[in-house]
Symmetry: C2
Subunit: 294 residues, 2 copies
């Protein structure tokens, strides 16, 4: 699984930066800032999920869909750039490097994020105009992605996250925060893979149910690592949640209970995947993500 994952990630990394328009010298700096953040590594979890659900639903020859798989990583990177800004989390580091607004002027980082938030829709609609996907598929992808980003999705989650600073939020609010802030995009990744393969509604529901389990487990692992990890492992300062007085699954449940919940979700996710044929890759990936050290 790991070798295949590395091969996929290499393909994604090779393509990702080429998607940013960069042939105009006057606007070169914003393109560079976007490419800087896109090339900062990361697990490429979301495009991998989209590709693998496409295959799981019977999709073939995914080579010409690589740009579409990448769209979700463009959105994820946009969210990281804006999340790190001084008025948001004010994080100077991301993945062991300076965050975008530290490597570039703050305004350029803001605009690079803006550009990455809209570029996916240009890529999806262009793919439809070029006949790579149908117009109907394009509309469904556009809806799934834009809804996942908006106030009812990721952006709404960021708002709740901010309001959760310096206060103890109720458990149900923390679940809603996670479901929106990180869950929505992970769910959209799985859904978009199904849409690309023309999967039926029942299959899409199953994929989203899996995504909910994975997304929650992934976030709980993140919260645990913020307490138990090291700067070297994570590439960012440890204890930032505590420093910002954020409510997390660890502050709410403690490390032990959080670990237990993580494992339960992992098992539930695996059970859902077992309903699909050829789901070995995703089952291994799920385990790896939930057991990760960074």
């Amino acid at each position: 699984m790991k070798t295949e994952l590395e091969t996929i990630c290499r393909k994604i990394n090779d393509r990702l930066c080429a998607l940013v328009p960069s042939d105009n010298a006057l606007t070169g700096e914003v393109s560079q800032a976007a490419v800087y953040s896109l090339s900062g590594g990361g697990k490429r979890l979301r495009p991998v999920l989209m590709m693998k659900f496409y295959e799981l639903c019977g999709g073939k020859e995914s080579g010409n869909l690589l740009d579409i798989f990448c769209t979700i990583e463009l959105v994820h990177t946009f969210s990281l750039i804006h999340d790190d800004l001084p008025c948001m989390d004010n994080d100077d580091y991301r993945r062991g490097r300076l965050s975008c607004h530290k490597a570039y002027p703050e305004a350029i980082a803001l605009l690079a994020g803006d550009a990455l938030s809209v570029l996916p829709f240009e890529i999806i609609s262009q793919s439809a105009k070029n006949g790579v996907i149908s117009y109907e598929t394009a509309a469904k992808l556009t809806y799934a992605l834009s809804h996942a980003i908006g106030i009812e999705g990721m952006i709404g989650g960021q708002v709740i996250d901010m309001l959760s600073e310096n206060t103890q939020i109720p458990e149900e609010t923390l679940y809603e925060l996670q479901k929106k802030k990180t869950g929505a995009l992970i769910s959209a990744a799985c859904e978009m893979g199904c849409i690309l393969a023309n999967a039926d509604d029942k299959t899409i529901s199953l994929a989203k149910e899996y995504a909910d389990k994975l997304g929650l487990a992934f976030q709980i692992r993140d919260d645990i690592l913020d307490v138990t990890g090291t700067f070297e492992e994570l590439g960012k300062p440890i204890g930032s949640d505590k420093e910002q007085n954020k409510s997390t699954f660890v502050t709410l449940l403690g490390v032990e209970k959080a670990e237990k919940l993580c494992r339960e979700l992992s098992e539930q996710a695996a059970k859902i995947l077992s309903q699909f044929e050829n789901s070995e890759f995703l089952t291994s990936l799920t385990e790896m993500l939930i057991d990760r050290r960074n």
Copy 2:
């Protein structure tokens, strides 16, 4: 013309704020911030242009397309919110009221802008899923709009604008700045109206040519008013371009030559419109926009 314009603007204003998802108490503040900026008035030039080009190209009964017309105003408002932020133009006022990040926390303003940048794509794709427009039309609208926003359009223009601060930029750079920063969205508005009416490529070219003339004249008028207007007329401080040492058509050409160019462009725009039937409304609107005092 003015009465009809007022009627159209009222319809747009009534609908605009209702497009923002706002039924979740936890994310209510970002919805309020978006609605605050959307309800700040403005000429609603872009949706009016879209509607009128739709009609000019033979489109009928535009009532069910109101949400689509509004999408371009959502984008325009997103750009104003981000443009006013401290790391960008750092403007405390917009249309005679506090700018979004002065009325709300800066992070909320940032996220409200982000939400408004993506909402149009949700509305367009939703309209296709509901059968209000065809999937093909949705893809074409999505492409026109996202391309106009991106690095090759408005965002690229904002980058050039920032680089033009505290320096005298060459004339051709100023033209490129305008064409991208304000021209791209005005052009997209006209193009989207044509797309909605299934106009042919020749008609779309003509509409974009008109938009280029109007957009440039509109910007030159803006630059002139920044020198000759008053706070009461404009609802924002006068002389902000000079204060920020920005290159404008006035600093480059002087008021007199800028006025002359404005009139020439106005005549050229009117000439293009005369090639369409029933273009009286747009001809009057063009004159009004270029002769405006605010």
